[in-house]
């Protein structure tokens, strides 16, 4: 089997790749991202799209949630399914459900760090993750009960996972 040298195997989920000194750095970055995204996450009430997500995610069965998502919502129903599972567990209060987007947006910090660190080194990872933590655009969508934070997180994970140098 011919193996390409162009893209090396890069597993962003493999934390054994990290040096011990990087663990506290990463934990600090993740906490900083989470803290910054918690600022003002309940400043405003839900709006139309968020209400639709809650409506779809509060059905009787998970397969109803997925069916409704696919039939009416034009986006795949993974986020709604996650909201369904969390909602059935802790309730559908906005203050709990919005934490899902806050979580995924904060988690993206890890993937920014790992992708850039594996491509260019620790310095690049650090700069990139700080830029991401304070990006106003990402913070705005970390406050929404929609799938955008999840999309950003997955794009980074899979993009970094597949495009490693």
């Amino acid at each position: 089997m011919r193996r390409a040298n162009l893209l090396k195997n890069l597993d962003l989920l493999d934390i054994r790749n990290l040096r011990p000194v990087e663990i506290p750095i990463l934990v600090s970055l993740l906490l900083l991202a989470f803290y910054w995204r918690l600022c003002g996450y309940m400043w405003r009430a839900i709006w139309l799209d968020e209400a639709y997500t809650l409506m779809i995610a509060s059905m009787h069965h998970p397969h109803h949630t997925i069916l409704f998502s696919n039939l009416y919502n034009t986006t795949p129903g993974l986020y709604e399914l996650i909201v369904y599972l969390v909602g059935k567990w802790v309730g559908y209060k906005v203050e709990y459900i919005r934490l899902i987007s806050v979580f995924f947006s904060s988690l993206s910090t890890y993937f920014v760090y790992r992708a850039l660190r594996d491509w260019y080194g620790t310095f690049a990872g650090l700069i990139g993750s700080i830029l991401f933590i304070y990006q106003n655009y990402s913070v705005s969508f970390a406050h929404e009960i929609r799938n955008y934070a999840l999309l950003g997180c997955f794009v980074l994970w899979l993009f970094g996972h597949s495009g490693g140098g």
Binding site: Y92, L116, G163
Partner: protein
């Protein structure tokens, strides 16, 4: 899935599983949303412009692209006919090169999000600096062999994706700020990638400058709102004990109002169905909440004839005029937000018949 499987196909280019998975997921991305077309565009550009990738999978990719195109043909015709129909998208906006520069500025914290004014386009030094650094970084990465394919992949994922979105949106209104999320993070990755293509001293100076600019403009902003909190405050002020029935128009605005005003109706799943808005309409009638799209005196809830006062919550001022045939408006006690209007109506006693 489409990004991952394509990457895995490049790694294990003899393994057909990843090629098939990449093909299926590229279809999936394009069918689930028109924006998903970017996946196949990006893949094709990547194969076309990186010689090592071309030599690796070039011939197979040609067959792959032909099969993908055959599978997508019907949807392509539908998309093309909508795109060239001249009909505008009510949810999207038109764009131009200034919108492109504005969003680059937003992603680089040069501007407050949702502040699209002429001032936000002016003094766009940060976008200018970034766009000036980018070609130099690309050239350096290519000639000095500094992970050129990664720089290119990031470039396709962010700048080119944005540019194509704005070019298409200039023809038919389809610009949605939230659809730019898959480009907003790769653009930061591209900024760092760009910096890393420069020698140490310029990299340090530019990095410090970017960081200073970025952090000094960072503010946690609230998410977008339709003003439903102000509406609910108004409704509760004019109708504190829910003594009067509530009219909500149009029906598609009902969920976020009901979530706060009457969660029992919002979460009522009896009987369970896949049409939640109709469920809410039926459940609402039982709770003296009438959700409708237009007012027709022939089709009113049975309790309406027994009440002479009700509260209206609407984002459509024209709708209020249709009510004024049978009802007259009380002086508004509370003006809602810019989106919603709250009014108290009383039945007319002077109407003949």
């Amino acid at each position: 899935m489409a990004l991952w499987s394509f990457g895995r196909w490049l790694k294990d280019n003899e393994d057909r599983r990843f090629m098939i998975l990449s093909l299926l997921s590229a279809w999936g991305a394009a069918f689930s949303h028109p924006f998903g077309l970017w996946v196949i565009i990006m893949q094709s550009l990547f194969v076309l412009t990186v010689p090592s990738v071309r030599s690796l999978i070039g011939k197979k990719y040609l067959y792959y692209l032909i099969i993908w195109s055959i599978g997508y043909m019907k949807q392509a015709l539908i998309t093309a006919s909508i795109f060239t129909s001249g009909l505008e998208n009510p949810y999207g906006a038109k764009s131009n090169i200034y919108t492109f520069l504005y969003f680059i500025k937003v992603f680089l914290n040069g501007n407050q999000f949702h502040d699209f004014t002429i001032n936000s386009i002016k003094d766009n030094y940060i976008s200018a600096l970034f766009l000036a650094l980018l070609p130099l970084a690309l050239i350096r990465a290519y000639f000095l062999n500094l992970n050129f394919h990664i720089v290119l992949l990031n470039f396709y994922m962010s700048v080119l994706m944005l540019l194509s979105h704005f070019i298409f949106s200039s023809h038919r209104s389809s610009l949605m700020d939230r659809y730019l999320m898959p480009a907003s993070i790769p653009i930061l990755v591209l900024v760092v990638t760009c910096l890393m293509c420069y020698p140490f001293v310029p990299r340090l100076i530019l990095g410090a400058g970017f960081l200073y600019h970025y952090l000094s403009n960072a503010t946690p902003q609230p998410a977008f709102t339709g003003g439903v909190d102000e509406l609910i405050a108004c409704v509760n002020e004019v109708n504190p004990d829910k003594r009067f029935p509530l009219f909500i128009q149009p029906s598609w605005e009902a969920p976020q109002i009901l979530y706060y005003y009457n969660p029992e109706v919002f979460f009522d799943l009896s009987p369970p169905s896949l049409d939640r808005i109709t469920d809410m309409m039926l459940s609402g009638i039982r709770s003296r909440i009438w959700i409708m799209n237009y007012y027709d005196p022939e089709y009113v809830p049975p309790w309406l004839n027994q009440v002479d006062t009700f509260v209206v919550a609407t984002s459509n001022k024209n709708f209020l005029r249709s009510l004024e045939v049978d009802f007259h408006v009380e002086e508004p006690k509370c003006e809602g937000s810019c989106v919603y209007v709250t009014r108290i109506y009383r039945r007319r006693n002077d109407r003949p018949g």
